[in-house]
């Protein structure tokens, strides 16, 4: 019993670190643009499909696949930013969000045209058996995921608090008008943040695809929903909140799956979000980002 609890907690932390990465990307975009990019997940899916296509046609190796996924996600993200978010910076947030949803449909159809089967194998990061520590088992991929989340958080923190660009990003998040008046190029911050967020998403997508050892067109919706859920749970627009929200969602899902099964697991996650929103808990109504 204790061993099961410990194993679930461990699995939840690993699962949660992938959600945390997705939520970080989502939060960066939301924090800076104050807009929700529904195409965040589909852009990741686009990167994973580009990599799968390269793997099928040229037998590209893992490192190259990771690079292609990242590049694909950034490219798709740039397309979304140019079309949906750049033309009307101060326009309606709803219009921008629905426009990003429209591009989601494009990515999904493009993916099914390029690779029409429902499911494609994605090469695993590590083919050996899982590590065993007494009663606990650990997958190497999960460790890599956790490590990646920690490294990305550390780098992001360093960037935000130790570089000039980081100061500009935080200024735009807190006071966009004042930032502009102080001579910060707000459009440049937007574009670079969008690219950064897409790259983090691409990394998460590559790790998720190689952990699951498969890609399907559903990866787009899955990434958007999990990222959005984790971001909302941690408080909209807060980076530490995004990490905590991701880990909380992972833990909730791992335990929920064990005790109640997969359908109740998802039900529980949505119920928690609904109740927290309805109760207007303090951390979900404040809007600090840094």
């Amino acid at each position: 019993m204790i061993a099961d609890l410990a194993q679930n907690t461990l699995d939840g932390l690993f699962l949660g670190s992938s959600y945390a990465l997705l939520a970080l990307g989502f939060t960066l975009i939301f924090g800076v643009l104050r807009r929700v990019n529904l195409s965040f997940g589909p852009a990741i899916m686009f990167g994973c499909y580009a990599a799968t296509w390269a793997h099928l046609n040229f037998g590209a190796g893992l490192l190259l696949l990771a690079l292609i996924t990242l590049a694909g996600a950034v490219l798709a993200g740039a397309y979304v930013e140019r079309l949906c978010f750049a033309p009307r910076r101060n326009g309606s947030p709803i219009a921008a969000m629905v426009a990003s949803f429209a591009l989601w449909m494009q990515f999904e159809e493009l993916a099914t045209i390029a690779l029409p089967r429902h499911l494609y194998a994605f090469p695993p990061l590590y083919a050996g058996p899982p590590l065993e520590f007494g009663v606990l088992t650990l997958r190497v991929e999960s460790l890599v995921m956790l490590l990646a989340a920690i490294v990305v958080c550390a780098l992001l923190w360093g960037m935000l608090y130790r570089t000039r660009f980081g100061v500009a990003v935080r200024a735009v998040i807190d006071q966009p008008r004042a930032a502009q008046l102080a001579g910060i190029s707000v459009p440049r911050v937007f574009v670079l943040t969008f690219a950064l967020a897409s790259a983090i998403g691409g990394l998460a997508g590559f790790l998720i695809a190689s952990t699951h050892e498969q890609v399907t067109p559903m990866l787009g919706m899955w990434s958007t929903l999990k990222g959005l859920l984790a971001m909302m749970l941690g408080g909209l627009g807060s980076l530490p909140g995004a990490v905590l929200g991701g880990l909380a969602l992972g833990l909730l899902e791992a335990h929920g799956q064990w005790f109640l099964g997969p359908q109740y697991r998802d039900l529980l996650a949505y119920l928690l979000l609904f109740v927290l929103l309805a109760a207007r808990v303090p951390w979900m109504t404040t809007r600090s980002a840094s």
């Binding site: 929700v36 529904l38 079309l83 949906c84 033309p87 009307r88 326009g91 309606s92 947030p93 709803i94 219009a95 921008a96 629905v98 426009a99 990003s100 949803f101 429209a102 591009l103 989601w104 449909m105 494009q106 999904e108 159809e109 493009l110 045209i113 919706m221 929903l225 959005l228 909302m232 909209l236 359908q263 998802d266 039900l267 949505y270 119920l271 979000l273 609904f274 929103l277 309805a278 207007r280 979900m284 109504t285």
Partner: protein, 295 residues
């Protein structure tokens, strides 16, 4: 008309109810990601009432609408005070919960020696009232559009009335509306109930058109589509959402020109349109201009 055309036109009519439901909330200032849930409630409730309890469709439709209104009223009660994205996410969470509950919902009874009713992820087969009554597809198309005309007439009536002005006032500036003595919360709850009933009516008609529904039909894609229809068609008049549905299902799916590339064409079109006209083709200014032109 051949069967294919009738099918496409019927679909345009059915989805229009859902788009109108999203539109109603949008003009009252709330963006819902969850209207598909009430469409689903209508489909399941209406199907159960006709297929298992043998109710006639009109009565079952009324029952389903009441249930849809109640469901959205109950969801709205704790959430309508939330603004913008918070409300959108709360409705999304509610709708996904509803979809999972449909997956867990088993309610089968023997009707003429055959098990009928919702069977979890296997879906709900045998909603055959329309077929058993000998209603032809063309007649059903007529029924759907007659109801749509009634709904539209109601919308136009409301938009011309004081209530319509109140709705738009609440949507544009709730604080100002409240200062003018409008009970914003009550108005929004009323809007939520009406939107739920409208979506449920679409759902009942959808279930009886297809004779089969499954939980997957009511996922987030349907909800965001209906929102997109309302938004691209325009927020200036109730004809807006209809135009949105017509452009997507009618022109792109119906014409079969863009076969296999429909989503790429439609997606690009919608994105460009929304950059160019953030409140849709038939927005308030366009409607004003048209009114001056033709009156």
């Amino acid at each position: 008309m051949d069967d294919y055309t009738i099918g496409v036109l019927t679909n345009v009519g059915l989805i229009s109810f859902l788009a109108l439901s999203a539109y109603l909330l949008l003009i009252a200032g709330e963006m819902s990601f969850g209207q598909q849930a009430f469409f689903g409630v209508g489909a399941y409730a209406g199907g159960i009432l006709t297929a298992i309890y043998g109710w006639p469709l009109p009565l079952a439709a009324l029952g389903a609408m009441a249930l849809g209104a109640l469901a959205q009223f109950l969801v709205g009660l704790p959430t309508l005070r939330l603004r913008g994205l918070y409300f959108a996410m709360a409705t999304l969470a509610a709708a996904e919960m509803a979809r999972i509950l449909f997956e867990l919902f088993h309610f089968q009874r023997l009707v003429d020696g055959e098990a009928v009713g919702p069977d979890g992820t296997q879906g709900f087969r045998g909603i055959r009232w329309v077929f058993e009554q000998g209603i032809e597809p063309l007649e059903y198309l007529g029924i759907v559009y007659a109801l749509l005309v009634v709904a539209l007439a109601l919308f136009l009536l409301v938009e011309r009335s004081r209530l319509g002005a109140t709705l738009r006032g609440v949507g544009e500036d709730p604080e100002l509306a409240a200062a003018l003595g409008v009970d914003v919360n009550r108005v929004k709850l009323g809007v939520a109930a009406a939107a739920g009933a409208l979506a449920a009516l679409g759902g009942v008609l959808y279930a009886h058109h297809n004779t089969y529904v499954e939980p997957r039909n009511f996922d987030i894609m349907l909800g965001v589509h209906s929102l997109a229809y309302a938004l691209i068609g325009g927020l200036g008049t109730a004809f807006g959402p209809l135009l949105g549905v017509l452009v997507d299902i009618g022109a792109l799916e119906g014409s079969r020109i863009f076969h296999g590339y429909r989503m790429i064409v439609f997606g690009g079109l919608v994105a460009l349109l929304l950059v160019w006209r953030p409140r849709g083709l038939l927005d308030e200014r366009m409607v004003q201009w048209l009114k001056q032109r033709f009156s």
